[in-house]
């Protein structure tokens, strides 16, 4: 019997219209756990580097996490992976809600979609019955509108729907997949549109078996209450009305302007009323007692939900206030647009217009108000109309397609992807590493375990460390105790901190846990529910895999190196690993490059950021190393940067030196 897993994958070929139920390999679970880990393995095996993102051979995979469908609190985030048209790299995307658990109850651990349907279709999965159905009547329909229509026509109010809106249908690069108030961004939206798949609808009524039932259930009841009562978990921003953090410190417009004195108490009061006068509810996701999502009904628009920084991005890009975000969020949700990258594309276009690079010829009838301009551009982008056809490809590509100096206005992308608009003073070493080397494209998907800032007094730091259960190694406590200035971090610390931060995200994304109870949240307060010290035991209780901390760490490294190998095989190199030039005002090139060398060393990667054959072999990824050698990407004899220096010295000694 399989525990925690359904034991089957659903293979869909939209070109041929075929549907297969294929037993999954338990060995893959042992090596990669599930979610994004197994998705990476499937994409490595089945999507060679010459496959274009919009090729029928590109795969779009919706995967449950290993712990979905078990009583483990907060295991609900569905991993959606593919090759992104924007970055031409592995797309990292997750959504909360109910989709993954429902899919597992339908009897599948993941849906692997290839091919392209001749016209718009949707997929209806009801346990063993799976159908590809006509969706031409849903063309151009909004994302939640589509969900409501399908549930009604199938008479299945309990079905879970993930759908794209007009943006996805038109292959807008910043399109997202929407599921209730959650969405999967950063790549899979346009690929779903390219495959002409309007929606996936799932209803599952099968059992999920638990390896050690009584122990896990006892743990569940206890953790459910603890997480509910804890300040160290969930999105405090959903209830904390003081949002000076984002407004005073993040950059407005096209990631340019900081307004350090923007926030004030009068504004806070006004926004408080705006929010609570229009809020229906604060809700959570499947099996999680937290209330991270604010659900808003704003006059004249559709009901929408937001969380975290998502409520600020549109009005900060347009120099407006919260009411503007409330006007546009419902519209953007129906179109199915990512609220992190889309406002940046809009602000970028407005800046180009003001600089005279885009003119009235490109933007006929362009309004003067920045809010009206945002709506104008939004419509152009989702329809790929006129200049919208270029803007729909994201800032990086639009800048190059518009030309005429527009490239200089693309100043906030890394690896062709819009970064969170943060502009600071002095370079912060671990953040340099995270932004440079992360492949999840957004800092929120990389940072999260080690605090962002030191605490002012030693007493406070001691107090923090005494309760800090999440640390995987005592050295982090020692470092934190002696840490006084933000940028005062040694390379050794930076490497280990970045590695730990990443590790937690890679673990979450394979077991399906939410970062707000785990990988993202520890940096604020340290009291997260899940960490390296308890996840192995929880996996053992739920899935019956015997695992300890070292074993879990090894799986993280395996998944991490596999994602890197996919991207390296598609051309990613050291030259791509750089934060936006103006992310910090004061840079130190030499220090940064030394730090990058040290990190590659730490990770067992070559000077060019490629996992060495030795690193891959140690993780049981021999075939990955062999493939990279066959393609001439590795010779198999490379070492890490420091090994190369030692080898070069030996070579010089042998040759008598010079």
């Amino acid at each position: 019997m399989r525990y925690a897993e359904a034991g089957y994958n659903l293979e869909i070929d939209l070109s041929r219209g075929s549907i297969d139920r294929v037993e999954s390999d338990l060995k893959l679970t042992e090596q990669h756990l599930g979610g994004q880990g197994i998705n990476a393995k499937i994409i490595w095996d089945r999507v060679p580097p010459d496959v274009e993102p919009f090729s029928p051979d590109n795969l779009l995979i919706f995967s449950t996490g290993l712990l979905h469908g078990t009583p483990v609190v907060g295991a609900n985030r569905t991993a959606v992976n593919t090759i992104s048209p924007q970055t031409n790299l592995f797309a990292h995307s997750l959504m909360g809600g109910y989709f993954g658990p429902e899919l597992k109850h339908a009897g599948y651990d993941r849906i692997i979609i290839r091919g392209k349907a001749p016209d718009l279709v949707y997929l209806w999965i009801h346990n063993d019955k799976v159908e590809i159905r006509d969706a031409t009547h849903l063309r151009g329909k909004g994302a939640t509108e589509t969900a409501a229509i399908i549930k009604k026509e199938l008479k299945e109010p309990k079905a879970q729907v993930a759908a794209i809106g007009l943006a996805g249908e038109n292959r807008v690069y910043t399109a997202s997949i929407e599921h209730n108030w959650s969405s999967a961004a950063r790549g899979p939206g346009p690929v779903m549109g390219d495959k002409r798949l309007k929606a996936i609808v799932v209803r599952g009524t099968k059992d999920i078996n638990i390896a050690k039932p009584a122990e896990l259930f006892e743990l569940y009841l206890r953790m459910n209450k603890e997480i509910h009562d804890s300040d160290g978990n969930g999105d405090w921003m959903a209830v904390d009305e003081d949002d000076s953090f984002h407004h005073n410190h993040f950059a407005w417009g096209n990631a340019r302007t900081r307004r350090k004195d923007f926030w004030n108490k009068e504004l806070e009061k006004r926004w408080y009323h705006l929010k609570y006068d229009h809020m229906d509810r604060q809700m959570g996701c499947y099996n999680c007692p937290k209330k991270c999502i604010n659900v808003i009904s704003y006059p004249g628009g559709k009901r929408f939900g937001y969380k975290c920084f998502g409520k600020d991005t549109y009005h900060m890009a347009a120099f407006k206030e919260l009411d503007f975000s409330y006007e546009i969020l419902g519209v953007a949700q129906e179109y199915g647009l990512d609220s992190y990258s889309t406002p940046q594309v809009i602000a970028f276009a407005i800046e180009l217009y003001e600089a005279g690079i885009l003119t009235d010829k490109d933007l006929p009838g362009f309004p003067s108000d920045s809010g009206e301009r945002s709506f104008y551009l939004l419509e152009k982008i989702v329809r790929r109309e006129g200049i919208g056809d270029k803007l729909a490809n994201g800032v990086y590509w639009a800048a190059r397609q518009i030309g005429n100096g527009a490239e200089a206005y693309d100043h906030n992308t890394t690896k062709k992807f819009e970064q969170v608009p943060i502009k600071l003073g002095k370079v912060n070493p671990p953040y340099f590493l995270m932004i440079a080397t992360g492949e999840k494209m957004n800092i929120t998907q990389i940072e999260g375990s080690f605090p962002q800032d030191p605490l002012p007094t030693r007493e406070e730091r001691e107090e923090f460390c005494s309760k800090w259960e999440a640390v995987p190694d005592e050295k982090f406590k020692q470092w934190f105790l002696n840490w006084e200035k933000r940028s005062d971090v040694t390379n050794e610390m930076s490497c280990a901190i970045t590695d730990w931060n990443e590790a937690m995200h890679y673990v979450d994304d394979s077991v399906g846990l939410c970062g707000f109870l785990s990988s993202f949240r520890g940096q604020f307060g340290g009291g997260v529910a899940y960490h390296m010290n308890n996840i192995p035991q929880i996996i053992s209780l739920a899935a019956g895999l015997e695992l300890d901390k070292d074993g879990l760490w090894e799986i993280f490294q395996r998944n991490r190196n596999l994602v890197r190998a996919i991207n390296v095989r598609r051309g990613m190199r050291r030259a791509d690993e750089k934060p936006p030039e103006d992310h910090w005002a004061v840079r130190d090139h030499e220090m940064e490059q030394k730090l990058l060398d040290d990190y590659y060393d730490f990770k067992g990667w070559t000077k060019d950021g490629i996992p060495t054959k030795e690193t891959l072999d140690k993780l049981g990824l021999d075939c990955v190393g062999e493939d990279l050698i066959k393609r001439g990407i590795l010779t198999g004899h490379e070492g890490t940067p420091s090994q190369e220096i030692v080898a070069a010295k030996d070579e010089n000694a042998k040759a008598g030196g010079c």
Partner: protein, 177 residues
């Protein structure tokens, strides 16, 4: 006939809809508790409490399965509360043929809430830290008419043969006397 007064413990669960965040922990806990062996599997579709929910309409109503009814009722009215439309069924725990709620997914047999008999407080309430589900225990005095031995006998005859036949037989036998 006058019945006797008997004190009965009434166990029930009060539902505070506004507090529900849609986590469905009640469904998870219920299906887990009623799995055989206990806690060995999870399946919200087997839960005897279900959150009738439609997030797009901001509707979240946890209801418990109660009695089985052979026929559906005429309760198809819709109510608008706080601008949200609710079907009458959203609040009804009766297991009836007109909807899929509270049926074993494999056999289609009705499920019924037993208030987790072995537990002091039902598991769904234990799994709801938000306080949407509140356990209540009250004592009620009920007039109970205890049936006599003859009544029990007659009732089983009626159940077996139908009341008309029993009446006819009784009339015939009485005449003979």
């Amino acid at each position: 006939m006058k019945g006797e007064l008997e004190k009965k413990k009434v166990r029930s669960i009060k539902v505070n809809l506004d507090k529900c965040n849609g986590c469905r922990a009640c469904e998870i806990a219920c299906s887990s508790y009623h799995a055989k062996p206990r806690y060995s599997s999870i399946n919200p579709a087997r839960s005897r409490i279900q959150v009738v929910m439609d997030p797009l309409n901001d509707e979240y109503v946890p209801i418990r399965a109660c009695d089985y009814s052979k026929a559906g009722c005429d309760g198809r009215r819709t109510y608008t509360i706080n601008n949200k439309e609710y079907s009458e069924c959203s609040f009804c725990g009766t297991v009836c043929p007109t909807r899929d709620l509270f049926k074993e997914p494999d056999s289609g047999l009705p499920l019924k809430c037993d208030m987790c008999e072995d537990e002091k407080v039902p598991l769904c309430v234990q799994a709801c830290p938000a306080g949407v589900l509140v356990y209540e225990e009250t004592e009620e005095e009920d007039e109970v008419i205890k049936p006599t031995e003859m009544e029990i006998g007659l009732k089983s005859l009626i159940d077996k043969y139908g009341s008309q036949k029993v009446a006819d037989t009784f009339a015939r036998l009485s005449k003979k006397g």
